[in-house]
């Protein structure tokens, strides 16, 4: 390790860059964020779909994530409606995944000799993805810094082999490492750069804008219509015959269908933030998204990437 790597990182982006370098060094494909609005890094097809089937896989990426109900107009020191997750998925889960994970913490400046790292039981379940796994939340000095999960089922399918999934809440982890109390005060780039930028310089205004839109302005009738359109389109895509008449090839469109599932899921989150979904309706909406994600998983395992014979 070079001196630079051993030293403490100085900015949010340096932590991200170090994680990218670390996991690239461990053999992961750094696949970049998915270009759609999602609630968590797990929704990226590089995790949801690729955790299915028998093909080996190793990917790492930053995923911008949106949770409309968590908007606080940029005022709350810890809560954001748009934030970043760092996601690693390795299939089959390697036997030294815990050690690899701890190595990543060291790489971003956590001194293992001074901190108390603990693996505290936390079973993961995503009702919208029809997925669950067992694992832990990882605590550093009493603070949850990551989620560590061995996927057992995704989209209603047993995971064989099992994927190991790591999710880092980047802002929270970075604030801790950089010793910052308010997320907006966190240095985004190097504080000694010609133009030093804080997290607030980059995101304060967008937090305000989206908070207002999410809570008060978003047109719920339109959102509802979009939800139904996405739901219908997802089904329509999957209902198309497997063999494409134009090319004569078997082309099952699992990914385009899954895009619609992602859309429906995010639209549901937006509707939820607008407060128009009652407690009883909530379950019904979650069930509708789960139906889509299961259908997409069913389709994906029929494809080559999903482990079906070509």
């Amino acid at each position: 390790m070079s001196v630079v790597e051993k030293s403490k990182p100085r900015s949010f982006q340096e932590i991200i860059l170090r994680l990218q370098a670390y996991w690239a060094g461990k053999g992961c494909a750094v696949v970049q964020p998915y270009d759609m609005e999602v609630g968590a890094g797990t929704f990226h097809p590089a995790t949801t779909l690729r955790s299915l089937g028998g093909n080996p896989w190793a990917a790492a990426y930053v995923q911008p994530s949106r949770r409309p109900t968590d908007g606080r107009y940029g005022e709350n020191p810890n809560r954001l409606q748009h934030y970043y997750q760092y996601q690693v998925l390795i299939k089959p889960s390697p036997p030294d995944l815990q050690e690899l994970y701890l190595g990543s913490l060291q790489a971003i400046g956590v001194d293992m000799d001074l901190h108390d790292i603990r693996f505290v039981e936390d079973d993961w379940e995503s009702p919208t993805l029809g997925a669950w796994g067992l694992g832990w939340e990882v605590w550093c000095d009493g603070m949850e810094v990551s989620q560590f999960t061995y996927f057992q089922q995704v989209g209603g399918h047993d995971c064989k082999p099992v994927s190991g999934e790591l999710t880092y809440g980047l802002e929270r982890l970075a604030m801790y490492i950089l010793g910052v109390d308010h997320v907006m005060d966190m240095p985004y780039n190097d504080p000694d750069a010609l133009i030093p930028l804080s997290y607030g310089d980059v995101f304060k205004q967008t937090e305000q804008e989206y908070s207002r839109w999410n809570f008060d302005i978003a047109d719920t009738d339109v959102l509802l219509k979009h939800f139904e359109d996405a739901e219908a389109e997802c089904q329509r895509i999957l209902d198309a015959p497997a063999v494409d008449p134009k090319t004569g090839k078997k082309i099952i469109m699992a990914h385009p269908a899954y895009d619609q599932c992602i859309k429906a899921s995010h639209l549901f989150n937006l509707l939820d933030a607008r407060g128009v979904i009652s407690v009883t309706e909530r379950q019904a909406y979650i069930g509708r998204v789960r139906t889509l994600s299961k259908a997409c998983a069913d389709a994906f395992v029929q494809t080559e990437a999903g482990g079906a014979a070509a």
């Binding site: 020191p77 810890n78 089959p92 889960s93 390697p94 036997p95 815990q98 001194d111 293992m112 000799d113 001074l114 901190h115 108390d116 790292i117 603990r118 693996f119 505290v120 039981e121 079973d123 796994g133 067992l134 694992g135 832990w136 550093c140 000095d141 009493g142 603070m143 061995y150 057992q152 995971c159 064989k160 082999p161 099992v162 190991g164 801790y176 109390d181 009652s278 407690v279 009883t280």
Partner: protein
């Protein structure tokens, strides 16, 4: 004789599963060894976050040799039969022995099963236990099919005695048994080779692993309380938390930190709950101020800076958590000071049950019920109604949204902030009680009124929509609610007709009595009978635990006003005491005899003997004595029953024992004279009538 040491080394085992897992390991392995013919002197199981270990001491070296003689077919039996016998016994034809018996020559097989070495048995038992371990939740990992609670990394399995140690060789899905383990994840991650249990425990201790969970818990508790004591403080005891924390660390290091002054104004319960739920911190109280002023956290390691970094990190997380809590508390107080109007309004949008309306509607019903119940529990009706209206307001508060377990308690704080009386504030907290059979029952009248109203509304509501508990399914905890009503009534000596209160509750929930709006709607009546029976069943269960037998309860349930539970129980207690006494047992025999003779005669004659016994037809002293005794008893029992003095009634009945016994000894009921016979039967019927004022003795067994 040798000792077995087994260790299953894995990734972190959830704290809540550890104790059970160590017990299961011990039972399953030792049972397997014994079943295979080995014996042992003692066994002990141990668990840490990363390992399950078992030590079996004084294990026999081999299972005993077994010898079995098996009788086969006659020598002249068909070939097929003889071959089949050989196959079954596992011997060849030339190993058979021929013996002369009465019926002729018969084949015998001698089957010898030599004992097996302990190692061989262990190598069979342990993999089997690992593959079928009863984890409540288990998982697969990597490409394997083995299931364990979290990935299993290594298995240490050695047999050792004074001469040395040997690995018991086996393989579970690619995990090969060995004689090594590892120490603490950070302090001593390298491989450690062990040759005995003492060596294992000692080397682990040196490698920063305390193997025994009880000693980890002791260390934590002692260090925490000593540290607190030195500063004149007390650690708030929490056994559940202690066990959990002991399951999160292999090398406990206790650290004590301060709670920032800003947060000391929060209710102590809020501090305690927030610290426990989110951080697994112990609360440290200052007995002088009675405030929670510090916390104890338990780290899993030592550090060069004596935990300073760890403590600072924990303190920072706590600061963020408590900032949230303080924010909720202050927002809530602002709303509480306006009497929580906003909260009550919000409850209109919260569905209680889709067939039973919103929480707000439910509160209306509870308020009306509380008014109705108030006079019988000695509460002011206005106060009861006011309390009922405020009691659920805290469900809309931010604090209860964050910490549901603080419901009720926050209601009490917010009621006080709203300027409500102490009685109303106490009811906000106490109206949920009793939650379980060991939970305290409130005694303040307003609390009792609201607690009863809350439970009666729940019961009558679900009865009205026909959502009753069935078998083991009781999703709305209706059995608990009924037991709550019973305990509230009995422990406060409440005198009321529960049936009337149920009728009120049912009609509010849309199941009417015929007398209300619709004269033809009897739905409420059936449900009232059904719910009353449910209460009686719960009451039987409750009283059985108090030592009152089911037949005594039945004898009392058959009496009028059986929906006045306090009266019912008073009667049952007196009766239980009486039937156990010598007089009671004998009187019961006399009663049964009288009742049998009477029932038979009534069946035969087709009439009911119930009236008109006249002393002038009595022809013996014993018969006249019974007349006199019944007059005396009746004269005492009638006023005693009016005064509900069951003790006096039992004493009066005891006076009947002698005369009844004397009567049956001296008098033949079926006399030749029909007049005399009828008179005697009518006399027997008086026994039934007089005693029947107290209870239905025909229901009592024995």
């Amino acid at each position: 004789m040798a000792d077995l040491l087994l260790e299953l080394f894995s990734e972190e085992i959830p704290a809540r599963m550890q104790k059970r897992a160590s017990e299961d390991l011990k039972k399953l392995v030792t049972d397997g060894l014994v079943e295979a013919g080995l014996t042992y002197e003692s066994a002990g199981a141990f668990v840490t976050p990363r390992r399950l270990a078992l030590s079996v001491v004084g294990l026999t070296d081999r299972s005993p040799d077994l010898r079995e003689e098996r009788k086969g077919p006659r020598v002249d039996a068909p070939e097929k039969a003889i071959d089949g016998f050989c196959r079954g016994a596992g011997v060849s034809r030339d190993q058979l022995e021929v013996r002369d018996e009465k019926k002729g020559q018969v084949y015998y097989a001698l089957i010898e099963k030599p004992g097996r070495a302990a190692g061989e048995i262990i190598a069979e038992v342990v993999p089997n236990v690992v593959r079928n371990f009863p984890w409540s939740k288990s998982m697969r990992w990597g490409s394997g099919t083995l299931r364990w609670v979290r990935p299993l990394h290594s298995i240490l399995c050695i047999l050792h005695d004074a001469e040395g140690a040997e690995v018991v060789p086996f393989d579970v899905d690619g995990i090969v048994s060995g004689n090594t383990t590892r120490g603490h994840r950070f302090h001593a991650p390298d491989v450690i080779k062990v040759h005995s249990f003492d060596d294992y425990a000692g080397k682990l201790a040196a490698a920063h692993v305390v193997l025994d969970s009880a000693s980890r818990a002791d260390t934590i508790w002692n260090d925490a309380t000593n540290g607190a004591f030195a500063q004149g403080l007390d650690v708030v005891e929490d056994k559940g938390l202690l066990a959990e924390v002991a399951g999160l660390v292999e090398w406990p290091v206790v650290l004590m930190g301060d709670i920032a002054e800003d947060f000391l104004g929060l209710p102590p319960e809020v501090l305690q709950t927030s610290m426990k739920e989110h951080q697994k911190f112990f609360s440290v109280r200052n007995p002088k101020t009675d405030r929670i002023e510090k916390f104890v956290t338990v780290a899993n390691r030592e550090t060069a800076d004596q935990g300073a970094t760890i403590l600072a990190g924990n303190q920072k997380v706590l600061f963020a958590r408590l900032s949230d809590a303080k924010f909720f508390w202050e927002n809530d107080l602002r709303i509480a000071e306006t009497c929580g109007a906003q909260w009550v309004e919000k409850l209109q949008n919260v569905t209680f049950h889709n067939k039973l309306g919103s929480q707000a509607e439910r509160i209306e019903r509870i308020a009306a019920l509380a008014r109705e119940i108030a006079p019988v529990v000695g509460a002011d009706a206005d106060a009861a109604e006011e309390a009922a209206r405020f009691a659920k307001a805290d469900l809309s508060s931010e604090m209860v949204y964050e910490f549901p377990e603080l419901q009720g308690l926050m209601g009490r704080y917010y009621a006080a902030a709203a300027g409500k009386s102490d009685a109303v504030a106490a009811a906000a907290q106490e109206h949920y009680s009793p939650l379980g059979p060991s939970d305290d029952v409130p005694s303040a009248p307003v609390s009792v009124a609201v607690a009863l109203a809350d439970k009666i509304d729940t019961l009558t509501g679900f009865w009205a929509i026909d959502e009753k508990p069935t078998g083991s399914k009781d999703p709305f905890a209706l059995r608990r609610a009924a037991l709550g009503v019973i305990r509230l009534v009995l422990e406060n000596g409440v005198r009321t007709s529960v049936g009337t209160v149920i009728a009120f509750g049912l009609s509010q929930n849309g199941a009417s009595q015929p007398t209300s709006n619709d004269p033809d709607d009897y739905s409420g009546l059936d449900r009232n009978v059904d719910l009353s029976n449910f209460f009686h069943d719960r009451l039987k269960v409750y009283l059985r635990d108090q030592g009152i037998s089911h037949d005594v309860i039945d004898a009392c349930l058959a009496m009028p006003n059986n929906d006045d539970f306090t009266l019912l129980v008073k009667r049952a207690e007196a009766l239980q005491g009486f039937v156990k006494s010598d007089d009671g047992t004998n009187l019961l025999q006399g009663y049964k005899r009288a009742n049998n003779i009477l029932s038979q005669a009534e069946a035969k004659d087709g009439v009911e003997y119930s009236y008109g016994a006249d002393v002038k037809y009595a022809d013996s002293d014993e018969e006249r004595a019974l007349f006199a005794a019944l007059d005396t008893a009746e004269g005492a029992i009638t006023p005693a029953m009016e005064a509900e003095d069951f003790g006096a009634a039992m004493t009066a009945m005891a006076g009947l024992r002698g005369p009844i016994d004397g009567f049956f000894e001296a008098v033949q009921v079926n006399a030749d004279s029909e007049v005399v016979r009828r008179n005697r039967l009518n006399l027997l019927s008086r026994i039934r009538t007089v005693m029947g004022q107290v209870a239905d003795f025909s229901k009592i067994e024995g």
